[in-house]
């Protein structure tokens, strides 16, 4: 009988080995952008020493690394001190749960973690947690805790809790879904209560999506709303030799097996850039919200800003933002901006202005095209209603309804047919009783 080891090995291999290489292997299964020269790894000093940090616990299983970015240093197009969000800016436009000044009293802490996987669960670790804040001189301070070994987690969590104790507001990018629940799991794992429970938290991802996300619709090739995409677009910051996110867990596992800290250097840098860019993007978003459409560099931002004002019931500012977007933007921006503006006007009882906005949408359409886009259908329908019931120009109403009729299907088609029949009836009887709105239309 084969021995147990051989049988076990056979089963483990047959069922698919791990993507990470064994200790000392020269050919990693997943290609890393940095492959350590295993032979060259020395034993000089502890992990903390080799990384240039200080041990948090006696055993050095958790390492603390501090880095300062001076106020006058630049991060892309902006200087570091300008990355600091202003406490007087209208943050509540983005998240009503965060109060404007109260939560800024003490320290705003930017927070980002690097983990051994995205699946979550008890076996996934946050091996690097990064915190950043501004000092009184406008410099950005980053404090990172790194797990040199799994035993360092408890001291890491304690040290992190001390940072959070100093904070009055936590800022993350997607932290409401990922970073904070993830860390809460780790505190629960160690059976201690999470210091994040009562800490106000501002997650920059949803506002970023509202401000910069809709570009995707018009430009399917755009990079989306990742922090690296935003820092390029908003801050003009380009990373060099950045560690790709998917590679991070594999690098850490290899560090565990080889002790090569140079595998980690890139991850530390990646995490620091994430923190600084997060601060800068947030600062910029708040600034835009206060300055209004004139400060925007792109019409898409103006359109988005309009929607943000509208959501907060600041309708005049919203209309202003839409008007700017209409003036500056291309057709893809103009159409949604016009539609939103038209609705704002109609809600305020400015029917003629609403009609003009709708008409402007139709005027954007090339003459040659017969079919209607969704915006144009909305516009044609709104204009048919407007001319039937308010302007009482039945002929024009019929014109819009006919254009609409050719372009609709299903239920909308039935409604259009009904409208056409009613218009025909009214035209026959001389439009005598056109003064009232029918229930169907409003």
């Amino acid at each position: 009988m084969r021995d147990l080891t051989a049988r076990l090995r056979d089963i483990v291999r047959r069922e698919g080995g791990a993507p990470a290489p064994a200790a000392g292997a020269t050919a990693p299964v997943r290609e890393l952008t940095y492959v350590p020269d295993v032979a060259a790894i020395g034993d000089e000093g502890s992990v903390a020493e080799r990384m240039g940090g200080t041990p948090v616990d006696a055993a050095g299983a958790c390492v603390c690394l501090d880095r300062r970015y001076d106020a006058d240093r630049s991060h892309g197009r902006v200087r570091v001190e300008r990355c600091r969000p202003d406490a007087t800016h209208p943050i509540d436009l983005f998240d009503a749960r965060v109060r404007r000044a109260d939560d800024w009293e003490r320290r705003v802490v930017f927070f980002d973690i690097e983990t051994t996987g995205l699946s979550g669960g008890a076996g996934t670790l946050a091996f690097l947690v990064g915190c950043g804040w501004f000092d009184d001189d406008g410099a950005f301070l980053v404090r990172q805790f790194f797990l040199a070994g799994p035993a360092g987690e408890q001291p890491m969590l304690e040290a992190l809790a001390r940072v959070f104790d100093e904070a009055s507001l936590l800022v993350t990018f997607n932290g409401r879904t990922f970073d904070v629940p993830f860390m809460e799991t780790r505190w629960a794992f160690h059976r201690s209560s999470a210091p994040t429970d009562d800490l106000p938290h501002f997650d920059m991802l949803p506002p970023a999506r509202r401000l910069w996300g809709q570009r995707d619709l018009a430009r399917p090739d755009s990079e989306g709303c990742s922090l690296t995409a935003l820092e390029r677009r908003v801050l003009g910051f380009h990373r060099h030799d950045d560690v790709p996110g998917f590679e991070i867990p594999a690098r850490y596992f290899q560090f565990l097996r080889t002790g090569e800290t140079r595998l980690i250097d890139g991850i530390l840098e990646h995490n620091r850039h994430d923190l600084l860019s997060l601060a800068a993007v947030m600062s910029h978003a708040l600034w835009l919200a206060r300055e209004g459409p004139a400060a925007c560099r792109e019409p898409a931002e103006q359109l988005a800003l309009g929607q943000i004002y509208e959501r907060a019931s600041r309708l005049d500012e919203a209309a202003g933002a839409y008007e700017t977007a209409i003036a500056m933007g291309d057709a893809d921006i103009k159409r949604p901006a016009l539609a939103r503006l038209a609705r704002l006007h109609r809600r305020a009882g400015r029917y003629d202005e609403a009609a003009r906005a709708w008409q402007a949408i139709l005027d954007l359409a090339p003459r040659s095209r017969r079919t209607l886009t969704p915006f144009e259908r909305q516009a044609a329908e709104a204009l048919a209603i407007h001319h039937e019931h308010r302007a009482r120009d039945l002929e024009r109403a019929r014109g819009y309804a006919e254009a609409l009729g050719a372009a609709t299907m299903g239920r909308a088609r039935v409604e259009t047919e009904r409208r056409l029949q009613r218009l025909a009836r009214k035209l026959k009887t001389g439009g005598a009783q056109t003064g009232r709105l029918t229930l169907e239309d409003e």
Partner: protein, 851 residues
């Protein structure tokens, strides 16, 4: 078309009337047979009628340890005292002793665990309990029951007791609230394995305060499923230790031979056993029906499905409500079709006959269960899916189409009919499968034997490895930690070589991005399944099938049946795991032909070959290398020349069967299918299929017939081959009886070319492929699960008994030259199969067969 009488009137009388009729028929048949020719049909039609008398209740006072408020709540429900088994279970649980309660159906087992659990929560609001049910449906059922009890206790301050199910159907947004608010979580092993344990920090509150773990239907955790559960419990207890809790386990089980042993194997701890039920039972009749032989030469009996249909109709016409159990999904659908044909109600009326099986969507199942309780459905035809304790109300009759395979499950199914008072009946209709025939011809074997042992093998290396990975993900292993009986440190060292874990600071840390529980499914070989998409009108998912049975039931042109409605598979998207079907009308169903090839990898132990044990890792070729293939012959040119090279007397014991057990590689492939006409079972066509192979490594017992025995057989080549096939067929059917396991747990193959007997409808059927038989053919009986479930070694140990029982089965069969009940139907084997098999057996055992 028949209209059904209302579900009212004196049910006892109606039941008696049907039973009398069935018996009278039996006597008339006997009398007629007497008149025709003595002994022509000596076999009884109803082979056994047993009356199980009513049993009165046995009460005990409430245990003093039980919370007073709960006692008052029960009193409000009219419960003033407990049955003895309930009191004993509550007493053990509250004293902190693990307890397993063995109770028949409808004996109030839920109070055995609900009382200590709710009592402890009433006394300490932080106390928590976890319930595990083998299916989601059972958890739903118990949720209603628990809610009711909590409501009753509500006036006593139990308003805040949170009881929730947590399974795959729980909406994402409700999960967080459940994790913190639930005092009692009702779940299943799959969810515990993949949803709860890997995320234990989120459940910290539950694990810190876990007082009780309730495992219902413990007997369901046999074989692979049980081996998985044992490992999940190891993981659960590890996590509990991390959070400082040490829960008491309360288990309930149907009747099996070894409930305490099973509980102790699964939980890894000592158990108290409570196995005397104090619950009253009504009178019950148990009948065995053997369909009459219609062709004596071929040993063909009347179809047991047709017979089950006839019996069911008798009861239905008398206004009784019944459940019909079928052996497979296919036979369930066929019986449903038959009964629907007989009881087609007026158009638009609610269906009174329904099918029920795994693969139906949950909504449909809930509807059927409800309609059964409310009496709208008069008859449900089900697979074993309804064998477990899903609440379908008290039915009058249980009809079993085919022997369920084990004594335990037969009693369990019989128990679905019957109330605490009043009469009920259970009828077993035997198929022509050998095991069925053995049982109906030997009623005492069934009524007097103990139920089966439930076996688990938690240290199956495949299963163990999978769970060690999961456990390492959940909590780093310490360097001195133990997990089961196999050295876990050695396993971790190997996992470390492959990069799964890394040893640092005395702990094995998980070093993978993946989530290991996702890769492990508890119920089948692969976590994959096939979905069935009806493309008749738009696309609609109408069912699903586990991965391993996908190819045989969803191949192109297969007929897929849902509650009697026929669909034909148009395309099977094997990669996408989807089968597109279209509704059809036809009068046949399909039955796949599967080829199985077994290759020896390693012999663990062997004996019988010239006295020397074969031990080694290259034994794979040992049996096959000696094989000189005999060319297949034209069936018409049968050779009857006697081989006289070796006189039988010269055979020494050393040349008798070489048997061994070890590791094998099993490859099976669906190669074609047959079209079988409904009702007549005529073969009306066939087709070939090209489908991917499915393969596994498992353990097997095998028997090699020495070349000397083969060549010495006084039969022609084709008949020798038939003899081997017949012998294998019979052995494959005797093995589960000896192992006391389910027939599906054991697979069989000969030499290399497969004969799959577990195919299709109860009557065994086999591919009519030409078999190339080597000079020394080998019969494999393998565990139908990767890595084996632990049957091969006992089978090797029982080799002598296996051959003797097989000899007994074939020799004792009343057929003339082989039938489905012994060596297989004559159509598939030759006329001398029975004689050749008997000859082989007498050579192998040294016992001559009775003439």
């Amino acid at each position: 078309m028949v209209t059904l009488p209302a579900l009212t009137g004196d049910k006892d009388q109606s039941l008696q009337a049907v039973l009398s009729r069935l018996q009278a028929e039996h006597e008339a048949a006997l009398a007629a047979a007497d008149e025709l020719a003595r002994g022509a049909s000596a076999e009884a039609h109803v082979t056994a009628v047993r009356r199980l008398p009513a049993v009165p209740a046995d009460y005990a006072p409430f245990p003093a340890s039980l919370d007073d408020r709960l006692r008052r709540a029960l009193a409000a429900r009219g419960i003033e005292q407990l049955y003895t088994h309930q009191a004993a279970a509550v007493d053990h649980a509250l004293a902190g002793r693990n307890v397993v309660v063995v109770t028949p159906t409808a004996s109030g087992k839920t109070l055995c665990y609900n009382l200590p659990v709710l009592g402890s929560i009433l006394q300490d609001a932080s106390s928590r309990a976890l319930y595990l049910f083998p299916t989601k449906a059972l958890a739903q059922d118990q949720l209603a029951e628990l809610h009711h009890l909590v409501q009753l206790a509500g006036t006593e301050g139990a308003d805040d007791i949170g009881v929730f199910t947590y399974d795959g159907d729980t909406p994402q947004d409700a999960r967080r609230a459940i994790r913190t608010r639930a005092h009692v979580v009702l779940s299943n092993p799959d969810m515990l394995h993949a949803g709860i344990l890997p995320h234990h920090p989120r459940w910290a509150k539950l694990f810190e305060n876990l007082r009780f773990v309730v495992i219902d239907e413990l007997h369901a955790y046999r074989g692979v499923f049980g081996s998985h559960l044992a490992n999940i419990i190891r993981r659960l207890r590890r996590v509990c230790r991390h959070y400082g809790s040490d829960p008491v386990f309360i288990c309930s089980s149907a009747t099996i031979a070894n409930p305490r042993e099973l509980a102790e194997r699964l939980i890894g701890d000592r158990f108290e056993l409570v196995d005397r039920s104090g619950a009253p039972r009504g009178e019950k009749y148990f009948l065995f029906v053997n369909p009459p032989i219609v062709n004596r030469e071929l040993g063909i009996r009347r179809s047991y499905l047709a017979e089950a249909r006839r019996v069911a109709i008798e009861f239905l016409q008398r206004g009784l409500q019944l459940i019909v159990f079928a052996q497979s999904r296919l036979s369930t659908e066929i019986l449903t079709t038959y009964l629907k044909d007989a009881f087609q109600g007026p158009p638009g009326a609610a269906d009174v006959i329904r099918g029920y099986r795994g693969g139906y969507l949950p909504l449909r199942r809930r509807e059927i269960e409800r309609d059964l309780r409310e009496g709208v459905v008069r008859c449900v035809v089900s697979t074993n899916a309804l064998e477990l304790g899903i609440d379908i109300g008290a039915l009058d009759v249980a009809v079993m189409a085919g022997y369920p395979g084990t004594i335990a499950s037969t009693w369990q199914r019989a128990g679905r009919a019957g109330r605490r008072s009043g009469r009920s009946a259970a009828v077993l209709v035997a198929s022509s499968a050998p095991i069925d025939q053995f049982v109906v011809r030997n009623p005492d074997f069934f009524f007097e034997a103990s139920a089966e042992h439930a076996l688990v093998n938690p240290d199956n290396l495949h299963i163990l490895l999978a769970h060690v990975k999961c456990a390492a993900f959940e909590l780093p292993f310490r360097q001195d930690e133990v997990f089961g009986t196999i050295d876990v440190q050695e396993i971790l060292a190997i996992l470390s070589e492959e990069g799964f874990v890394h040893l640092a600071g005395g702990q094995w840390q998980w070093t993978q991005e993946s989530y290991p529980a996702d890769a492990v499914s508890l119920r089948s070989i692969s976590s994959d399944n096939f979905v069935v998409v009806d493309a008749t009108k738009g696309e609609r998912v109408i069912g699903e099938t586990d991965f391993s049975s996908g190819p045989s039931t969803l191949h192109e042109k297969a007929i897929y049946i849902v509650e009697g409605q026929l669909f034909q598979v148009e395309t099977l998207d094997y990669e996408g795991r989807k089968a597109y079907v279209r509704a059809v009308e036809c009068d046949y169903y399909t039955d796949a032909i599967t080829y199985t090839k077994v290759t020896m990898l390693e012999t663990f132990a062997a004996s019988g070959s010239e006295g020397a044990a074969v031990v080694g890792d290259q034994a794979g070729t040992a049996a096959l290398a000696a094989g000189i293939e005999m060319p297949d012959e034209e069936p018409a040119v049968r050779e009857y020349a006697l081989s006289t090279d070796v006189a039988p007397g010269e055979l020494s014991p050393a040349t008798r069967a070489e048997r061994a057990h070890g590791e094998v590689h099993v490859v099976s492939r669906v190669v074609g299918f047959k079209k079988i006409k409904f009702y007549t079972n005529e073969n009306v066509g066939s087709g070939e299929l090209e489908l991917p192979e499915q393969e596994m490594h498992t353990t097997a017992y095998w028997l090699t017939i020495p070349a000397s025995v083969m060549t010495a057989m006084p039969f022609g080549t084709a008949d020798r081959r038939d003899g081997v096939i017949g012998l294998a067929h019979a052995m494959r059917n005797v093995a589960p009886l000896l192992l006391m396991c389910d027939g599906h747990d054991v697979g069989m193959a000969i030499d290399g070319l497969g004969v799959d007997g577990a195919n299709g409808l109860g009557g065994t059927r086999r591919g009519e492929q030409p078999l190339e038989l080597s000079a020394a053919p080998t019969i494999f009986l393998y565990d139908s699960y990767p890595g084996g479930i632990g049957f091969s070694e006992p089978l090797y140990g029982m080799h002598e008994a296996l051959l003797e029982r097989t000899l007994g089965l074939i020799a004792g069969c009343p057929c003339e030259s082989g039938c489905p009940s012994c060596v297989g139907p004559e159509g598939a084997t030759g006329p001398l199969a029975k004689a050749a098999a008997l000859h082989l057996l007498s050579e192998l055992t040294g016992v001559s067969a009775p003439a």
